[in-house]
């Protein structure tokens, strides 16, 4: 069976580097598609179902979170482009940016972190990793 995801040499090298730096797994929490014509979801009566999609390898760019008095703790995560492209293809998303935009957050060690930005790290126009900026949950911000 052929792999539908094309892996560039840079992405393969990045995967090796991520694994050698202690690459771990994260869970991308995705909401189920909205039900057409269902007013209860628009009114907040019904909530969508969520599915947690594993992505690996990922590493924290810095071991410690960026902390300040006025802002919530912030982490940066490097995610394998190979893994992201696999999820984009299997779920039928147009691009990785749409995938991360639609995600409800990232589950790491049973804590749901909010994605504030997702940037592709590229070589010759091909992404080899994605940099996610994550912040602590809303309840922990104060």
């Amino acid at each position: 069976m052929s792999d539908p995801v094309s892996v560039t040499p840079a992405a393969r090298a990045a995967d090796t580097l991520l694994r050698s730096c202690g690459g771990r797994q994260m869970l991308l929490r995705m909401p189920a598609p909205a039900i057409a014509g269902d007013l209860t979801e628009q009114l907040g009566i019904a909530t969508p179902r969520f599915q947690n999609i594993p992505l690996a390898p990922v590493v924290f760019r810095k071991a410690r979170a960026v902390v300040s008095e006025v802002r919530p703790a912030r982490w940066e995560l490097l995610v394998s482009a190979t893994a992201v492209q696999g999820v984009v293809t299997s779920l039928g998303y147009a691009s990785a940016s749409v995938l991360f935009h639609d995600a409800a957050g990232v589950l790491l060690d049973d804590e749901l972190l909010e994605i504030t930005s997702a940037t592709a790290e590229q070589v010759f126009g091909q992404p080899y990793a994605y940099r996610l900026v994550l912040v602590a949950p809303v309840a922990d911000k104060n």
């Binding site: 909401p31 189920a32 598609p33 909205a34 039900i35 057409a36 014509g37 269902d38 007013l39 209860t40 979801e41 628009q42 009114l43 907040g44 009566i45 019904a46 969508p48 935009h101 639609d102 409800a104 909010e114 504030t116 809303v138």
Partner: protein
Amino acid sequence: MQNAKDTFYTMLQSRLAAVNPSRTIVVRGTVRPGLLVEENELPSAPPPTDCFRLCWTKLQLVSTSPLPLVAMECSIAYATAGSAGNAAMDRGRMLAAMDGELFAALSVEPRSAPKLNYSGAGVGVAPTALSTSVFWADPVFGPVIVNEERLERTATVQVYAYREAGEL
């Protein structure tokens, strides 16, 4: 006052869709008319453009009769960055179009709607009609805020409803 909030939202959504059926948004893969209630959606940053975002801000008890009258302030925010085909040079016209659509939807008679209870509603199940109506005042349009390439405006509307017996 959740029933009044739900009724006002569904009323405004249907009126805006009648004024401009082509103003739509895609929420989790589904196309909807271009109005959403922020508190009912998943957090999203940055907020979507070219649609109306409804937010309930203030609540005041106007009269304490056996049928109390409650005033709620509804804040409707909207923004546009223009269209890419016109190099965003039409963003002023697009904001003016949204101003006009909102004004048309809120100023058309009647300025009231029968209050409905959506708690038991669903796909194919109609909401329950209550005894009183929801009514509203003229919208007040705030100044245009220039946020980089985006033009943003917030309009506020006072929405009134009677709190019926048994209503939360």
